[in-house]
Symmetry: C2
Subunit: 220 residues, 2 copies
């Protein structure tokens, strides 16, 4: 079996990808990073999914990053509120965590080299690029090139959902039997998802497109 | 004044570069990462140099990385001894920390975006490439490209010592008046440098080339 590392946030995209690569036969190692997000609901979901699927899982606490280096955004700063609205609205830029993807991927590559895995998967998708600079195709292509040179033996960065939107991912998840009750998307950490932030809205549309019912409850 | 971030290990290369960019007029922010090195002598030197030069300095404790993700090497694992000998010897590969440069650089880029700095400096040099895959020109060129796309406004990765060897760096440091008593190179963390490991040997040759006396004492 070929070893692979996956970056697992505990949201619906990376959880679907986890099911997907297990289904493809990879010996899978999941990595979740606490970079100082305001809440840990996603990470708890990631842990439950890995337990359910019997996948080795590391959660690494780098919460100091959100406090010291990656502040000034709504996901890590207590002083900035999560904006409500769709992703195309200006204020959603507050949810950009500086250079998050490169940081997470560089850690995953380091872990892969330690494990002797030659592939690292992550679930960037077509809906992401609008406001996140580090979800752009050009960025990912450049990073793939760098990653291929990071060790003497080439490591491959795999982003198979790059041309899919979140609805397509939900359709895939439906086929794969993903347990979406063990995923969390909302930027807020309340008991129920807010239904108002960009990621809630996108998730609701995705479930509608896939014609499945979201097992998570939303606030009224 | 233009803002810049520098990755400062506390070794002689990055310390020289720090003096160099201050001399060039940058408003400089130094970043040091504890990734789980066996000793913190370099980081203590980094702190003293920044205090001396009145440079804002962050030391971020990510020592969990060495324990959890980046093990199996002599710099972070208690189980693997620091090899003695020159860098061109096979056993020196034990000192490769997987993907270290990409990890450090990705964090520095995130910090630069938070600060509004457009340049990140690091002191990779020509002597490094022989055993470290992530000191190769091709790797750094690919990473520069990715970094330039990591934010909406382009960030520039600067590695001005890439064509210099450690002796050239020491010559530069002599001109700049670098206080090399506040730098540490040895992979071991004893009171005196071991004089036996790859980095000690390279340092001794560098001082010889620059015709300066190393203020650090070595074991007999």
């Amino acid at each position: 079996m070929e070893k692979a590392v996956i970056i697992l946030s505990g949201g619906m995209d990376s959880t679907t990808l986890l099911y997907d690569i297990i289904n493809q036969g990879y010996e899978t190692y999941a990595l979740s990073i606490n970079y100082g997000q305001k809440h840990s609901k996603e990470l708890e979901c990631a842990a439950k999914t890995c337990q359910k699927l019997n996948v080795p899982h590391k959660i690494i606490d780098l919460s100091v990053l959100g406090k010291e280096l990656l502040c000034n955004n709504a996901l890590t700063s207590e002083k900035i509120e999560i904006p409500h609205g769709n992703y195309n609205e200006g204020n959603m830029k507050l949810t950009v965590v500086p250079n998050r993807n490169m940081i997470l991927l560089s850690l995953a590559i380091g872990y892969a080299i330690t494990l002797g895995a030659k592939k690292v998967f992550y679930a960037a998708h077509a809906g992401d690029h609008a406001i996140y600079p580090d979800c752009r195709h050009e960025f990912i292509e450049a990073l793939k090139k760098a990653v291929s040179l990071a060790d003497w033996e080439s490591i491959k960065l795999e982003a198979p959902y790059l041309t899919l939107d979140k609805g397509d991912i939900a359709i895939k998840g439906k086929e794969l039997g993903v347990d979406y009750s063990l995923t969390w998307s909302c930027y807020e950490g309340s008991d129920k998802a807010c239904g108002m932030c960009g990621t809630c809205r996108e998730r609701m549309e995705a479930f509608k497109k896939a014609k499945i019912t979201d097992p998570l409850g939303y606030k009224d």
